[in-house]
């Protein structure tokens, strides 16, 4: 019997689960990679979803993706599915994508609710954009439709970004809201529009995808394109930071940063993190050669040769350059499947083909996300081997990966 079979058996009873995971957590060496079970066990994956991730918020998209009343997005998350719709009063609402009759999925993919109605394909129960049950075919006239509206989910819109939570008791969002306003707000995200979106599924556990996302140790070997224009941790970086800040200050721009990420999250609040990084000397934005791609956004009148990052919770990472933004959203689909959605934003009035070229705009992060898929999948294959033993993280460059795994283990331990 191999280790995974053993742990799966041990975890199948609640009483043993605590002890087994407890002993795995005890085995964990500080600043070392996770034990293989964390990447391979179905039981741990269920705990990850239900206990570790559920209280957090997911960024669904930007409001410009659903510009008209009745436009909706279907957002799938593990076994769950959410309908995010713009209602007749332009309010963004979210509902569980589960029919109140016999539970069918109602909407398969994003679309438009023709005539302002969401219709279940199974027996045609019809719901209004406010989630109320408007019509239940052939049910008795005195059937009380009021008790059978779609289940509403907590929803926030900040700087045009739509967030939903699948939890009944989500984390407070105030710190994130402040953080988003103080960073992405400066870059004018509220008035941005979606230029393009893509989705790639990594055949890997969600934690491997995130461990990779938060370190740039791999950038030089895996992302040569990225490394041409993004600053690396080198001696010249201090000088570049000073220049970036001076160029922003000269325009009256100050982007505040904060670090309430991972275990540094404020009590009861969603994780909020922001930082600023310089591009390499003279690079304006993340393009092939650093030259501009689209009209400047927000308060920027000229390039400061820098960028901002803003993390919202563990799974949503936003980047903003002077002329475009990118949302990176990781979504667990199953134990070995994690979706990375990338959504590119440009200034709201920018016209494709005139003010920006879509292929050029998206080139950097299409190439980089594609490379990340490959390295993360290779990582999963490796940790699935019986020869895998956790190795040491490279510090300080993998410091955020350490923080991520420490947050993860502490959340799991608290959930037991």
């Amino acid at each position: 019997m191999n280790e995974i079979t053993k742990i799966e058996q041990a975890l199948s009873s609640d009483a043993n689960a605590k002890a087994s995971i407890g002993s795995l957590l005890d085995k964990q060496r500080k600043n070392y990679g996770l034990q293989p079970e964390f990447y391979l066990s179905d039981h741990i994956y269920r705990l990850d979803i239900e206990k570790v991730l559920m209280p957090h918020w997911q960024c669904v998209n930007h409001v410009s993706a659903i510009p008209n009343a009745g436009d909706y997005i279907v957002f799938d998350y593990d076994r769950e599915s959410v309908i995010v719709v713009r209602d007749a009063d332009n309010e963004i609402r979210s509902f569980a994508n589960v029919c109140r009759h016999r539970g069918s999925r109602i909407c398969e993919t994003s679309g438009h609710a023709r005539g302002g109605m969401l219709i279940c394909p199974y027996h045609a129960w019809s719901y209004g954009l406010d989630g109320s049950l408007a019509h239940a075919r052939m049910m008795p006239r005195d059937f009380d439709k009021q008790g059978f509206g779609l289940k509403p989910l907590p929803t926030k819109v900040v700087q045009g970004l739509i967030f939903v939570s699948l939890s009944d008791t989500p984390l407070a969002f105030d710190d994130c809201e402040e953080n988003i306003n103080a960073t992405l707000g400066i870059y004018g995200w509220a008035n941005a529009k979606v230029a393009y979106q893509s989705s790639v599924v990594f055949s890997a556990n969600w934690k491997l995808a995130l461990e990779n996302q938060v370190e740039c140790y791999h950038c030089a070997p895996s992302h040569p394109e990225f490394s041409v224009v993004h600053g690396q941790s080198t001696a010249t970086e201090k000088k570049l930071i000073a220049e970036m800040n001076a160029k922003a200050a000269a325009q009256g721009i100050r982007v505040e940063t904060r670090d309430h990420w991972a275990l540094a999250a404020l009590d009861g609040q969603e994780q909020a993190y922001s930082n600023r990084y310089p591009m390499t000397a003279n690079a304006c934005t993340a393009s092939k050669d650093g030259s501009p791609l689209a009209p400047l956004m927000g308060k920027f009148q000229s390039y400061d040769n820098g960028m901002a990052v803003c993390y919202i919770g563990p799974m949503n990472h936003c980047l903003s350059y002077g002329d475009y933004g990118a949302i990176f959203r990781y979504t667990p689909k199953s134990l070995f499947e994690t979706e990375l959605a990338v959504i590119w934003l440009v200034r709201g009035d920018a016209v494709e083909g005139k003010d920006y070229d879509r292929d050029e705009l998206t080139w950097m992060w299409r190439v980089t996300a594609g490379a990340d898929k490959k390295i993360v999948e290779d990582n999963q294959r490796g940790v699935s081997s019986r020869f895998y033993t956790p190795g040491p993280y490279a510090l300080p460059i993998e410091e955020k990966t350490v923080r991520f795994t420490e947050w993860y283990m502490s959340s799991l331990a608290n959930a037991l």
């Binding site: 005539g115 109605m117 045609a124 019509h135 052939m138």
Partner: protein, 106 residues
């Protein structure tokens, strides 16, 4: 309001339609339904403008007909949509009586 080339079809007898009731008929390719309200007789297309459903199988109340399939509401006098998912109004037809007979203009 009728055109000179209006054709009046003899549909049924007044007694065939209960107060608050409906009567459907077909004329060539066209399916039409006549509604009997307190203040008179009205007619619209019988097929919902949303998908395929017969309004004569729906629910008539307060001058509106509710489609049996997805519950669109139409004003039977004007044909206007009062609630989706239908987006297009129903075509309406003039109705009058001649003695005991109900006539509908096509």
């Amino acid at each position: 309001m009728e055109q000179t080339d209006t054709v009046w079809i003899d549909v049924c007898s007044v007694d065939d339609i209960d107060e608050g009731g409906m009567h459907e008929f077909q004329h060539e390719e066209r399916r039409i339904v006549i509604y009997r309200l307190e203040d008179g007789l009205f007619a619209t297309d019988n097929v919902c403008t949303h998908e395929f459903a017969l309004l004569s199988e729906g629910w008539l109340e307060n001058g509106t007909i509710e489609c049996p399939l997805h519950g669109a509401l139409f004003n039977v006098k004007t044909g206007q949509v009062e609630r989706g998912p239908a987006e297009c109004a129903l075509k309406t037809y003039a109705v009058r009586t001649e003695g005991e007979r109900v006539l509908c203009s096509i």
